[in-house]
Symmetry: C3
Subunit: 259 residues, 3 copies
């Protein structure tokens, strides 16, 4: 019932890979490239034109790339001038604005709102309703939970955009806020409802408004679970170390080629 | 102007009741049943297929039931394998994922996001933008206000899903968070922005981050209003005791049949 | 590629100005008036009928006005009985319910949800995902950042609607909550995650849960920036004093006509 070509518009300049499925009511704009085996569900927009489209008769849509083996769920809008690596997936009603670059195997949850000029590494998971201001930067293997907000305006309103930064492997709990230009280190666990108002060092368990570092996250003991952090030693679903373990995978990464 | 059959797709296997209206641009998937006198507004999806649909050629859509006298507002998405009781209503752009069971006369507000495997009793009201993680359970006559989040992961990321629980008659204020596996009792009032990090007993007025029980909610005095809780004695709009009062209605519920 | 008239429905009673563009899959209901040079992007609804439409055969759609030079981005829903002044703009997936009056040159961000009976002055900026309860009132030149919520129910659930009030020039940070009936003064700066539980006087820098006034915002010193508030002396993008400065503009406003 999906993918019957009802009310679909695909630009002649779009490059659609092999075995790509495009849902009903979709619009694929100029200069979009979609990799092989990707699914674009119903009612999606890929390559949404930038604002100049409405006023500049000579407007040309910048190129947009959705990697292979991706799934874009229904009612999502991806602007032009974005790049999403292979294995990308979204929930429903996602908005990704221009000049966003997302590495391989990331997911962006239902209703999330990436405001543009966002950089995200690989294997990140944004759950539902995450808001990333312009200029936000996220490392690899970062998980952001619902209603996390990264901000960028140090004394609103201003034109002084200072995006925040979240280091690799860090987990940020629901409703947490990263204030403008703040850097959260690697391997941190940020509690629900935290307001991150100052730099948080690597391996911090931090929470509160304003944020306080409670302990080294490696000291955290969960009832009956020992030390659950760093989490990579106990969680592998969808991660590149799935089935082999993080340490074995890391060793593979650092093996030097024979001379 | 609505309901003129423009760009509508209804599966031949769907069972559509009497006097049902289906809006333009809607898709009703396989094995959906819609009760009499229900309205499905424009741009809705009912019976959205589960993930296996995209990979399993033998996929069969599990049955989905929308009760009679319901209204599903525009741009909402209801997955397959859900049951919504009679008198159900939604705002716009609601997402309800698979294996969600909702009792009679509930409403789910604009932009709310039910992640699946959610159980909700009868006469509940979810206002706008409520997020319920997988495994969440809600009693009867529960009201959740905007941006309330129920979470389920005790040490993220993990595969140890522990949904929260909210007892009947409880009210949860805006931006409140229920941490994983936490039980909120019956007849509670949870303040705005509360982080519910431990069990809250019945009849608690509780607030703060982390949550503290302030008083028995029955002791709470509102200026010029006396003791407004339990709320059932003073509020009846849309409730089954409307016009007769809660106590009279309760007596009806407990009348034993003649021997 | 936009604006090719695919799957568009425009009521014969709608009045469409000169040089208006209407995107694909749009519905413009009865008694909508759209001013000159306005753009309505794809998949929008303007003049969404009120609830009585579904039950009253004699229902007539009340008039709806979108001012000239506006841009309504895709998937937005504007109910009937609303008035938006000239130069209005929205993000994607905005919901604006009935009896909302918005002054000139305002913007409402992606996913924002105005619940109806909202009054907003001129040159206001609502960023993404702002929620305004019924009865909310906002002055001129007010900026609300993501996930700000204005509430209206003093002892939920009740039928005693008491909308909040935000004075002109005030800035409200992300995830802040205005409790029912509370008045925030003019020229305030409300911090992220604040719960505004009592009246805040003009020119306050206020933050916390519950809110505390920290200082007169005019005393606030930003590193290397002096006193950034009131902000009108240093920020003019899109404001009526752009290019001439706030003080010169204010003098123009107060010049009395020659006798």
């Amino acid at each position: 019932m999906k993918f019957n070509g009802r009310n679909v518009f695909i630009s002649p300049s779009a490059k659609i890979g092999k075995n790509v499925k495009i849902g009903d009511n979709c619009t694929i704009y100029d200069n979009v490239e979609i990799g092989d085996d990707t699914v674009v569900c119903n009612d999606c927009v890929v390559g949404e034109p930038l604002k100049a489209y409405y006023s500049d008769p000579a407007y040309k849509n910048p190129p947009t790339l959705v990697g292979a083996n991706s799934i874009i769920r229904s009612h999502s809008i991806i602007y032009a001038a974005c790049t999403m690596g292979a294995g990308f997936s979204t929930g429903h009603r996602v908005t990704i604005r221009e000049n966003t670059n997302i590495g391989e195997s990331c997911s962006v949850g239902t209703l999330s709102d990436l405001q543009g000029n966002v950089k995200m590494g690989k294997y990140c998971r944004l759950h539902s309703n995450v808001h990333l201001a312009q200029g936000s930067t996220i490392g690899d293997f970062v998980f952001l939970y619902p209603y996390v907000v990264m901000t960028n305006d140090p004394y609103p309103p201003s034109t002084d955009i200072r995006g925040g930064f979240i280091g690799s492997y860090t987990q940020v709990g629901v409703h947490a806020i990263i204030l403008p230009g703040i850097k959260v280190g690697e391997n941190c666990l940020i509690g629900a409802n935290t307001v991150v108002s100052k730099r948080v060092p690597d391996f911090s368990l931090a929470t509160g408004d304003p944020v306080k570092v409670i302990m080294d996250v490696r000291q955290y003991v969960a009832m009956g679970k020992g030390n659950p952090y760093p989490w990579m030693k106990r969680f592998d679903r969808g991660m590149p170390w799935q089935g082999i373990g993080y340490e074995a995978w890391m060793q593979q990464q650092t093996v030097k080629p024979a001379p």
